[in-house]
Symmetry: C2
Subunit: 186 residues, 2 copies
């Protein structure tokens, strides 16, 4: 029987600090401060999406479906958008949107019908049930988000929000969209 201590070192999932130390070790001219920001951002976003996924799962839907509900609600009454517009806002192809709407319509979250004034168009409309689901998800999400930020003072929140908004504006200016798929991890 081998020594339990040095046989299989058990790789151990690297913490953020370990990961940044590894990057510095393997890549000389790295600014650890920049890397900390970027890596923390990515890990945080990932964890948050997992948490949202757990919440939406308790409502019997996926994050993907929640995204559609969000887009429709944000569009405002009468909560109608076309598949193409939805696809653009979610960063999907129209083909994927077709199938996603199929599922959601069969679950009663949205309705799909032809626009009778222009029969090329299709109108996807939020149902009452869809709106209720969105509200429930929103309640859970805001509780989670408030809990997440609970240690930050109002001042800290303001600074964080401003910094992130500034970075977002910068990346939007620098990378003029040109349609961005995503569905990638990280």
């Amino acid at each position: 029987m081998p020594e339990p201590s040095d046989a299989a070192p058990a790789p151990a999932e690297p913490s953020l600090e370990e990961q940044i130390a590894a990057y510095q070790r393997e890549f000389q001219d790295l600014d650890p401060q920049v890397e900390q920001i970027v890596s923390a951002l990515q890990r945080l976003n990932r964890r948050m999406n997992v948490a949202y996924g757990r919440q939406t799962a308790t409502l019997g839907m996926s994050n993907a479906e929640w995204e559609v509900l969000k887009a429709l609600v944000v569009s405002g009454a009468p909560y109608q958008l076309g598949p193409g517009e939805l696809a653009k806002r979610l960063g999907l192809t129209p083909a994927a949107m077709t199938h996603r709407i199929d599922r959601m319509a069969s679950e009663g979250l949205v309705t799909r019908e032809r626009d009778e004034t222009n029969r090329v168009r299709v109108i996807v409309e939020l149902t009452h049930e869809g709106r209720e689901k969105w509200l429930e998800a929103m309640r859970m999400a805001t509780v989670f988000e408030e809990e997440l930020l609970q240690d930050l003072s109002g001042r800290e929140r303001q600074l964080l929000g401003e910094a992130l908004t500034h970075l977002l504006r910068r990346v939007e200016d620098t990378q003029p969209d040109a349609e961005g798929r995503l569905n990638d991890l990280n």
Copy 2:
């Protein structure tokens, strides 16, 4: 010909500000400051992933493959990990990892071989070419990241990094992993 102004209002992709205003309109008790942080974080992360995707594409690989290279590099010399361990670190199922390693091995980025001391295990090892690809991707990524953060002072970067790290720690404590798939948008 209809008036161009009021016929089709052209939904217009909502900006961050418009999205938050819509949330407030549709959901009464919402803290706009919290929502700004969360929404900016999500949008920023998404845009960054699209940017990384463009960069890795110029190297003839996908973000998915880059993730594997990163995990191997972070593990340190001799840059070896098993499929199961890789899957856990990337948040994929072992099945997906098998196929991803297939592709990467056929592209020469990694090698796959049985561990002769324990023939149940498989060892995935970074090749020289894989390491070079990682280095090139890293060079491009750091340029992009530095450019992204260029308007922030050292002090601002420090505060941002601390805030994000704190939030990450909080979410890691609150949501004890329990394996998290992701592959979801936003």
